[in-house]
């Protein structure tokens, strides 16, 4: 009943290329495969570029042009950079409080037919209800909104991906 008593989400996907190729494409080509649109990118319907800077301390960020100049949303810093097997970075959505963050780890494991890519997104329990209060929003509403945001994202992603 409680297979998941911690706060991790984990997803694996087999890709039919070697780990070194998968690692390079995941990081260098991130803008090419990261889903587009309001649900996935801060820039919404405007053009934006998602980038991962190589190496520990590098950033995962999105940049886009506005009428007042170039805006950058930094999703987080790279905390582990071990090509071709492991990558980790912090994850902050724009609606997080300044000191809130979650954590993403990506593993690239060689398999007979390519590379098993596993994403683990953890730290959800640290998004505490007293922080959203600073956004002038009730904690429950904040979390519901986050949940809806993800759910929305899923649906539109699935519609986008499945016909392919």
């Amino acid at each position: 009943m409680s297979e998941r008593a911690d706060d991790r989400a984990r997803v694996s996907m087999l890709v039919r290329v070697p780990p070194a190729v998968a690692f390079c494409a995941f990081t260098e080509d991130v803008d090419q495969w990261w889903r587009r649109g309001r649900k996935y990118r801060v820039a919404g319907k405007h053009r934006s570029i998602v980038r991962i800077e190589g190496g520990v301390g590098g950033r995962l960020f999105e940049s886009f042009e506005t009428s007042t100049g170039t805006k950058v949303h930094e999703t987080g810093k790279i905390t582990a950079w071990d090509p071709p097997s492991r990558l980790a970075f912090e994850w902050r959505s724009p609606n997080y409080a300044a000191d809130e963050k979650t954590f993403v780890e990506v593993l690239f494991e060689e398999s007979a037919s390519g590379t098993l890519v596993t994403v683990t997104h953890s730290g959800w329990s640290a998004i505490r209800p007293d922080h959203p209060a600073r956004h002038g929003e009730e904690a429950g509403a904040f979390l519901r909104r986050m949940g809806l945001w993800w759910a929305d994202q899923m649906t539109s992603l699935r519609l986008h991906v499945e016909p392919a």
């Binding site: 297979e3 209800p129 993800w150 992603l157």
Partner: protein
């Protein structure tokens, strides 16, 4: 009345309480057993159990064949609701990885297939 999802996360946002949950996944236990298993003082264990109980994550039950005391056990409902939340996060990454797979195999994969 169900505790909200944020209460669930708040209650779990503590290593000692997560340890209590992991312990109770195996079987229901008395407060004193939980304290000794986790090297906590009894008042500390009681305090954590109180937070978990108010969040609806655990409940007390009177053990029928043992008059020595009440046991704590997990309540399944909040875990199911958190599971839904994590399912959504997993679906997000599943779809992102689906997009990544399509990209990497199209750009780099075809020529490498045996």
């Amino acid at each position: 009345m169900q505790p909200s999802l944020d209460e669930t996360f708040l209650a779990l946002g503590d290593p000692a309480r997560l340890a209590v949950i992991r312990l109770l996944r195996k079987k229901p236990r008395r407060s004193s057993d939980i304290a000794s298993a986790l090297s906590l003082s009894r008042p500390t264990a009681s305090r954590h159990l109180g937070v978990l109980r108010r969040a609806g994550l655990v409940e007390e039950t009177t053990s029928e064949d043992d008059a020595r005391g009440r046991e704590y056990r997990l309540r399944p409902q909040p875990f199911a609701r958190m599971r839904t939340w994590l399912d959504e996060v997993e679906a997000f990454w599943g779809d992102q990885l689906g997009s990544f797979k399509a990209h990497v195999e199209t750009k780099y994969g075809a020529a490498r297939r045996p």
